[in-house]
Each structure stands twice: as structure tokens, then as C-alpha cells.
Symmetry: C2
Subunit: 252 residues, 2 copies
Amino acid sequence: MTTLIDIVRPNAGEAPGGAIRVFTFFRDRLLSGELKAGDRLLAERELALALGVSRPVLREALRSLAMLGLLDIQHGRGAFVRAADASVLGQALTLCLAPQPNILDDVLQARIAIECQAIRLACERASERDLQAIADVLDALVASLDEPELGGRADHAFHLAIVRASGSGSLMKIHEAISPLLIRSHVERRRDTFGEPAITSRLVDAHRAVFLSLARRDPDQAERALREHFLIGDDLRRRKLIAAYQPQEKQP
Amino acid sequence: MTTLIDIVRPNAGEAPGGAIRVFTFFRDRLLSGELKAGDRLLAERELALALGVSRPVLREALRSLAMLGLLDIQHGRGAFVRAADASVLGQALTLCLAPQPNILDDVLQARIAIECQAIRLACERASERDLQAIADVLDALVASLDEPELGGRADHAFHLAIVRASGSGSLMKIHEAISPLLIRSHVERRRDTFGEPAITSRLVDAHRAVFLSLARRDPDQAERALREHFLIGDDLRRRKLIAAYQPQEKQP
DNA sequence: TGCTCATAGTGGTAAGACCACGGACTGACC
DNA sequence: GGTCAGTCCGTGGTCTTACCACTATGAGCA
């Protein structure tokens, strides 16, 4: 079968198979904005009748749309148009990256890419409210150093706030998409650093430096500070690796 | 219904609805590698029997997997596991970004983000073969300055080669995902620059500078050169905007 | 030896029926 | 009169059966 969502539609003249015809029918109306988030679709039986297909065929198309996160089908209530979110994006990314080794390490590269560009844009575009929001999260981060769970969440919120301040929808969506993958490596790292004052203080300094250069609206310095921050992670991973190869007090 | 692909599966004990049970069944086997690309699934009737669901239900799940690009269902032949590619990723991205204004401009930010990080990694990791490949594309780019179509493709190939040289799967996939969106703005820009020697020579210089600093394996200089290159585009867009507001010889 | 056509197996579609869930209406009870 | 519970209707969820369309395979024929 033809893969979904062909931006350019070949053989537009012919009538494709029923299911994919229904699928493209709704997709186009979703892309064009004819169907807005929250709209309720007709009942399956009526839709099937209106579109001239059987109910199973219609259901295949509807279910596919739901799988892509475009529809929210609720038992006993109906099908509703869902606001496009990045969850499907993240899922697709996970599926694409799944066969590859070292995903968790490699996805960090994507994160660095997004955030470094985001902070450059943020230096240009961030409003006072954006800066205030970042400052608030920074305070929360400092206050939650002793709690791994809360601290990790604050850390994530800090970086998220920067990406938000960039004002770029693309960067935000991609960042949102890789978040689930990031979180997995994030929490375990936090668990390791927990209780090591040298590391945590270095972490706070790094975050503060990032914020300050952003507040000064200096893109080069901000990116440098951010990369510096990411190096802490690299450093940590390296130490962990070395420690793992040290035969002392290591349990098999 | 529950959204597909929950990485953490809630209510794992209970049996979810038939269709989504079948869906997760295959998804898990795809993620775990138990099903490899090229494998042929059993016939729908047999699968339905084996999994204890009716054929329409099975078909809904199979169709959904096909929509996500995980399966390739061929009429009269069977269903085959497809190698995960970034096409779905790109489609999902397009759908997520569709409601937003200025997508084509904004997606450039994602591109800059990816490529700037990629070239930094490439400075560390690129093999001699990678560098040679980039050099070859650069030659092709210089040779095809007079042909907008060919030149545009060479341009794209150049940047793609850099991302490849980074050796990061995440960066490559994301770059691949935004490619379809990039191409649209790419070709029209080429069409504008076509025939302006000052622009084209500047373009060549920029690409050459990027390659040279990459060959020298200097990350900072390479990123700077790349950003310089992207500024050409900004500059061009600005000029176009100004030209559009000049009332002289402009047709409504 | 080569071609052609019948056939079996596959996905694609249709129709009808029933079940499970949610909400709204209506009734009785407090 | 207000509140609660039960019933009914509309909805999605599923099953069954049957038939159509496409592909490949192999047997039969020239």
C-alpha cells in the first residue's frame, strides 16, 4: 500500500483503495484546518454511509488516524479531533532509533544541537517574562539539590524554559519529541551525582552561568556556557566508565 | 482509546482491547528485534486465529502499523516488516507543525541546530572516506552552479554528507525528517539566486570555507563558517523582503 | 522449450448482528 | 422540590460470513 501522508499526491485522478481514500480525506481536512481540535466526528455508521465505504474500512482509517495522534476515539462517546502534540513524534523517533546501539547516549547529541541553537535564538527573542520564568526555575533547581526526583525535574524544566524562550516551534517540538528518551538517562545520572557536593555545586554554577549569559543576550557566550554544562555530563560518564573498569570493590 | 506506543505500559496485567493488544504485540516484537526487516508475517486469517481476534480487528492493527511505516502490506502477497525509515518522522513533524505560521522559515532553525552540532561531531569523528565524500559533493556543487535543479540537489547532498560524517544516528534521522520541509524553501531560494554571480560565488566560498575548517578538524571554526553560510540565506530573504516593499516595477 | 491459463493463497471489502460503554432522560424516593 | 437510581439510546468495539481482486505458482498445451 502507499505510505500515508504523501505530501505530493500521485495518481490523484484515480480512486485509491477505500481505506486510504478515507484516510487522506481526513488528513487533508486536518492539515487545511477545516477540522479543528475538539471537533466531533459523525458516528462511524453515518460516516461509512456518507463516504461510501463499509464500517470496518472506515474504522481502519480512523484507527490509523488515532494511532498518529490526530484523533481521540472514545468508547461510547465518539471520535474527536485532537490537537497535534509531539507524542507521536517522540514515538516515531523511538521506533526509528530503536535498532541502533547507544541510543540513549546518541540522543544527547540531538539535545545539545537543539538547545544550543535555542539559546542563541533566546538571546535575540526572549521576552522579560521568558527570562523571569527561567530565573524562577533556576531558583527551584537550587532549592531542590538534595532531592534527586525534584531536582531532575527542575533541571529538565530549566532547559525546557530555554527552548520555549527561543520562540521556535520546530525546536520546541523536536525537543519535546526527544524528551522521553532523555528522561531515562537523566534520572539515572541524577542518582549518581546525588550526594556529591563537588558535582552538584559545579552543576549549579553551570546553570547559573548559562542563565547569566542569556540575560546578557550574548549568543556566543551563552552557547559556550551551555556546552560547558553538557561537558559535565560527559565528564561524569567518563568517570563512571573508568570506575567500572577499576577492579576495586566491584561486584560482578 | 489509549495512545499507541506507551513506552511504559500501564495496566499491564489486564487485557486491553483486541486491536490495541495486537498492535502492542507486534510493536514490542519490532522494538525488541524479534521481527526483522524483510520478514513476512503470517496470513491475516492465520494471524487472527493465532491471536484470538477476528480478521477485521487484526486488520485495524496491521493497517495502523503500516501507517506508521513499520509494515509493508502488499495486496495478494502478504505483509512484510519494513526497515524503519524517517519518512513517518517527517510526516509526523509536518502534522505537528502544520497549524503554526511561518513553518518553512522556522524549520530552518532546526536545520541550523542539527547541522551545527553535526559538524562539530564530524570534526572529531569523520573518517577520511567521509571527508572525501564531502569533497566530491563540493566539486559537484561547483560544477552545477548554472543549473538550479542540479545545484539545489548538490547543495542538499553537501549538507547531508556533513550530517552523515557526524556519525550520530539521532542527528541523521532528525535531519532526514525535516528534509522534505527544507526542500520546499530550498528550491525557491535557488531559483532566486540563479543568475546572480555575486551570490553564487559567495555561496561557493561559504561551502568551501565550511569544508576546509572541517578538514582541519576545528569545531569552533567549522561551526562559525557554517553559521556564516546560513547568514547568506537570511541576507537573501531580507533583500527579497525589501524588494517586495519597493514600489518600483512591481506587479500586483 | 516456451507460453498460456487455471488455481490456490493472499489481502481488500462488504453486510449484518451483537456486545460494552457513556450519557441523558425519567422515574421514584427522600 | 431536590436528589438519587434505573432505564434507554447512541456510540464505539467486536465477531461472523461471504465475496472480490490481485499475485504467484504450476500444470497443461503448442
